[in-house]
Symmetry: C3
Subunit: 164 residues, 3 copies
C-alpha cells in the first residue's frame, strides 16, 4: 500500500516531465526559502555594478573622455575608474553562476560567500579609485568567498555523480 | 490517512534529494511550459548579439581596423559600432539572470520584459550606429523591462524569505 | 482511490509552491545526477579562463604594459594575448546559459557539447598567442558544440510550448 501510493506520487510528477521529453526521473530540485538570500545578494551585486557605472559616467565628464572612447590616452586616473568596472564585469558571470548553483543546495553558505565577494568588489573599486592600481589588491579576501563557492560546486558535482 | 499518503509523497521526493546531500525539503521548483517563452527570448537575444558582432566584423573591413586592435585611434564611427556591441555584452549577464529567475515564477511577465529589453538593445545599437553616441539613448524604454525584472526578483526573494 | 492519492501528492507539492506565489503547477524540474558533468565542464571552463588571465598577467610584465592600461599601443603580441581572454569572456555568458538550460533536460549531451566548446577556446587562445590573429580560427570546431546547444535550447523551448 505504502509502495503503491509512492508510485502514484511518482507518477503525478512524471506526467509533467513528459512535457520536457526528459528520459527518466532521477532527482528533483528543491529550493529552500533561504534561496531568497542568494537572490538578494544577486540584486545587491547589481547595485554595486550600477554604482561603478555611475562612477565611470562622472569620470567621463571630469576627465573629458567622450563617448565612444573607452579608455583615455592621457588620464590614468580615468582608466583606473574604467578598469574597476570592467574587471568586475569580466569576473561577474563566473561568480553569479557559481553562487546560483551552490545556492540551490546550500543557499545560506552561497549567500554568505556571495556577500563577501560583492563587498570585496567594492573594496577593489575603492582601491582602484585611489589612482594607484596596487590598492585594488586589498580586495583579495573576496577570493575566500569565491574559492568556497568553487569548492561547493565541485562537491555538488562529484556528489551528484556518486564519486563521494 | 490523508496525512499519511502526503508523507509518502514527500518521502518519494526526499529520496532523490539524498543525491544532492540537501538538508531538508522546503519548496519544489515548478517550471510552467510558458518558460519556453523565456528560453525563446534568450535565443533571440543571442541572435541580436550575433548581429552586433557581424556589424563589428564589417566595420573592421570598412574602417581598416585589424585584429587584435579593439578600438580605432582615428575612426569614432568604428568605435561607436564596437561600443554598441560591448555595452550590450557588459549588461548581458545581469539581464539574463534577472529574466531566468523571474521566469521560473512568472514566465510570461519575464518573457515580455525580456523581449522589451532585447528590442531596446537593437534600438540602442541603431542609435549608436548613426555615429552620434547621443542617439543610443532612444533605447531608454528598455529600462522599463529591466526594472520590472529587478522588481520581480526582489519580490520573489522577499516572498521566499517570508517578508511579504 | 488512486486519483485521490495523486491529488494528495499534488497538494504536498503545491503547498510549498505557495511560498513562491506561483500560479498553478505545470511541470517539475528534475535534475539527473548526470547534471554533475555539466557542473564539471563549468568548473573546467573557469580554469581555462584563469589560465588566460594568468597569460595576460605574464604578458603585462614581458611587454611592459602597466595597469590600468588595457591594450598596448606598441605591442600587437600583447594585444593578441589580451584579446584571446577578452573574446572568450565576451562569449562566455551565452555559452554557460545555453549549457545549463540544455543540461537540465539533456545533461550528457550538454556536457559533451560544452567540453568541445571549452577545448575549442584553448585552441582559440593558442592560435591567438602565435601573434597572428588568423590562427585563432582553428578553433572553429567549437561552433559545432555551440550550435548543438542552441538547437537543443530551441527544441526544449518549442517542446515546452507544445509546438512539437
Amino acid at each position: 500500500m505504502t509502495y503503491f501510493t509512492t508510485e502514484i506520487a511518482r507518477r503525478s510528477v512524471s506526467c509533467s516531465v513528459v512535457i520536457l521529453k526528459a528520459p527518466a526521473i532521477m532527482a528533483v530540485i528543491e529550493i529552500s526559502p533561504d534561496f531568497g538570500w542568494v537572490i538578494m545578494v544577486f540584486i545587491a551585486s547589481q547595485f554595486v555594478l550600477m554604482w561603478m557605472g555611475i562612477k565611470v559616467g562622472s569620470a567621463r565628464k571630469k576627465y573629458d573622455v567622450k563617448y565612444p572612447k573607452m579608455y583615455s590616452d592621457t588620464s590614468d586616473m580615468f582608466n583606473c575608474i574604467q578598469r574597476a568596472h570592467q574587471n568586475t564585469l569580466e569576473n561577474y558571470t563566473v561568480f553569479i553562476v557559481l553562487m546560483l548553483i551552490a545556492g540551490v543546495v546550500y543557499p545560506r553558505l552561497a549567500a554568505v560567500c556571495g556577500a563577501v565577494y560583492v563587498v570585496s568588489r567594492i573594496v577593489y573599486a575603492q582601491g582602484y579609485y585611489t589612482g594607484d592600481p596596487k590598492n585594488r589588491l586589498k580586495s583579495a579576501f573576496g577570493y575566500i568567498g569565491l574559492f568556497i563557492l568553487i569548492g561547493t560546486n565541485i562537491y555538488i558535482a562529484i556528489s551528484m555523480l556518486g564519486f563521494v
